[in-house]
Amino acid sequence: MSSIFILARMTFVQAIRRRIVLTGLLLGVCFLVVFSIGFHMINTSSLTSFTGTNSSGVQNIIDTERSSGLFLAGLYAVTFLAIAMAALLGADTMAGEINSGTIQVIVTKPILRSDVVFGKWLGFAGLLGLYLLLMEGGTVLSILVQSGYTAPHLLAGVVLIYFESLLVMTVAMLFSSRFSALATGGVVFGLYGLSFIGGWIEQIGAVLNSQTAVKVGILTSLIIPSESLWRRAAYEMQSPLSGLLGISPFGAASVPSLFMVAYAVVYLLVVLALTVRVFQKRDL
């Protein structure tokens, strides 16, 4: 068996045994319950308030827009939870094991140091995938069952969000290979905040037709393209009408281009390669 897969499995089992998965699942189920109840209440109360309208066409549009808006709001929260999980897993894994010395009996085995990085990365990628599958699947199902609504380009959106969580996890692993878990957590959340604000500046700039603001937004996306991935995902999954209306809290007014998505792919690969390099050079 390849040492990368041995280490990936170890990482996976570790997350299960240390109750990280259990905690994530419990909180995730809580979220889904609250979200479903909330959706149910909004759905039924607005149905009654619009009974006066007799045009079923208008009613349909309103229903779709409401479901779409709530769906994206739900996914936005799920994305945030996944990113927090990705940042914490990535921040602890290298620094934690270097600090405790656990890593010493691993890297002295006949394996490459890069195997350790790739193994952990794969293990966490599996975990995040399962987590997002449950959370996004739950959100989609809850809305589908209650209102019959499904968002367009669901697969593309879900993949982009998964990719965003992988990007944050990889950045966290890079810093974690050099700095303490706490410092890494600070840096990663700081970067996430930067990209969040940058994204908003870009959106508002687009609505107000300020090219400078849009450029500032794009520039922060180059520093860390995580928020761009969310906005591209939201763009893919939004209803056609809200796409026309422009700004909404969970939609995308200024749409990151496919070029930005490609940039994010390269970005992730470069960060992963840097992680390997930093870890190879490091005295343990």
């Binding site: 040492s3 089992v13 570790q14 010395g101 009996v105 394996i111």
Partner: protein, 306 residues
């Protein structure tokens, strides 16, 4: 062609910032040898081991293990390592832990499973095989760590303070295991500041202080020089005492205590017979070897690593 040395280092040096933790380490250790690395705290023992097992990169100098340069991956399959501040994956059971590390050594599952059971029994943990390491005491962790270092039946084992967490029974276990390893032809590199432990297990020792080897010593030669023997006796008369000069270069008497300086301890039975024949009651004869401890203090100085 002579066999390749297990460890060969040439002016190995490691600096951390301005501070040289290891200044100049030049050693040659043969296969099958049990080698003790002795020094006060902060002398550079652990840094030296870490360089040899590839955890840290030397600033300069060269070294090879089993004939291959440092960091050679396939050579690591023949090396075992127990780190000083061992912390293991404590969410695994003892069996799972050893299985994981055996897999990392690249061992095949059939051979591994037998080896895991064998080692759990050898380190006295066979009753705990399905217990999580998080419930283990420090001594138990040290035992499982030792088992981990021996999984691959290594040709060379690095043990960094292997008995620091162990009670006397555990220490005897480690000592016995080292004796077995020597019998099997395994080279053991033992870091310790427990001198008595080094004294009973090692063939050779290096004293290290401030990052340099200051003395290399064959332990077999330690007790070949002059020794003193202390005797507790009753019924001595001056004539008997003067007769002792046949064997002893120096004789000192204080009440019932006699201190003799003799060439080697093989003359002690004759001295005993002589005293008994002259009506002296002998209660105790104890030869005093120069202990490694005395030698250590003499070499490294009383201030140690401070």
């Amino acid at each position: 062609m002579p066999p390749v040395p297990a460890i060969e280092t040439n002016e190995l040096r490691k600096e951390f910032g301005d501070n040289a933790a290891v200044k100049c380490l030049t050693l040659q250790i043969q296969q099958g040898e049990v080698f003790g690395f002795l020094g006060p705290n902060g002398a550079g023992k652990t840094t030296s081991i870490k360089m040899l097992v590839g955890l840290i990169k030397p600033t300069s100098g060269k070294a090879s293990l089993l004939g291959a340069p440092l960091g050679d991956r396939s050579t690591r399959a023949r090396i075992g390592f127990l780190p000083e501040h061992f912390r293991f994956q404590d969410w695994l059971t003892a069996r799972e832990f050893l299985t994981l590390h055996g897999q990392l050594f690249g061992m095949h599952s059939r051979r591994l499973s037998g080896r895991v059971d064998e080692l759990l029994e050898r380190v006295g943990l066979d009753g705990f095989r399905d217990r999580h390491l998080s419930t283990f005491s420090k001594g138990m962790l040290q035992r499982i760590g030792l088992a981990q270092a021996l999984l691959n039946q290594p040709a060379l084992v690095f043990l960094d303070e292997p008995t620091s967490g162990l009670d006397p029974v555990g220490r005897i276990l480690v000592r016995d295991i080292i004796h077995e390893l020597r019998a099997e032809g395994t080279c053991v590199f033992l870091n310790s500041h427990l001198l008595s432990e080094i004294e009973v297990t090692c063939d050779r020792v290096a004293f290290i202080s401030h990052g340099e080897v200051i003395r290399l010593l064959e332990l077999a030669s330690l007790n070949t020089g002059q020794i003193t023997a202390v005797l507790r006796v009753k019924g001595l008369i001056p004539e008997t005492i003067s007769g002792l000069s046949t064997w002893a270069q120096q004789v000192q008497q204080e009440g019932d205590r006699l201190t003799l300086t003799i060439q080697n301890e093989s003359v002690l039975p004759e001295i005993n017979r002589y005293l008994v024949e002259h009506g002296v009651a002998v209660f105790e004869i104890s030869p005093k070897h120069i202990s490694l401890e005395e030698l250590f203090i003499e070499t490294v100085g009383k201030e140690g690593g401070l």
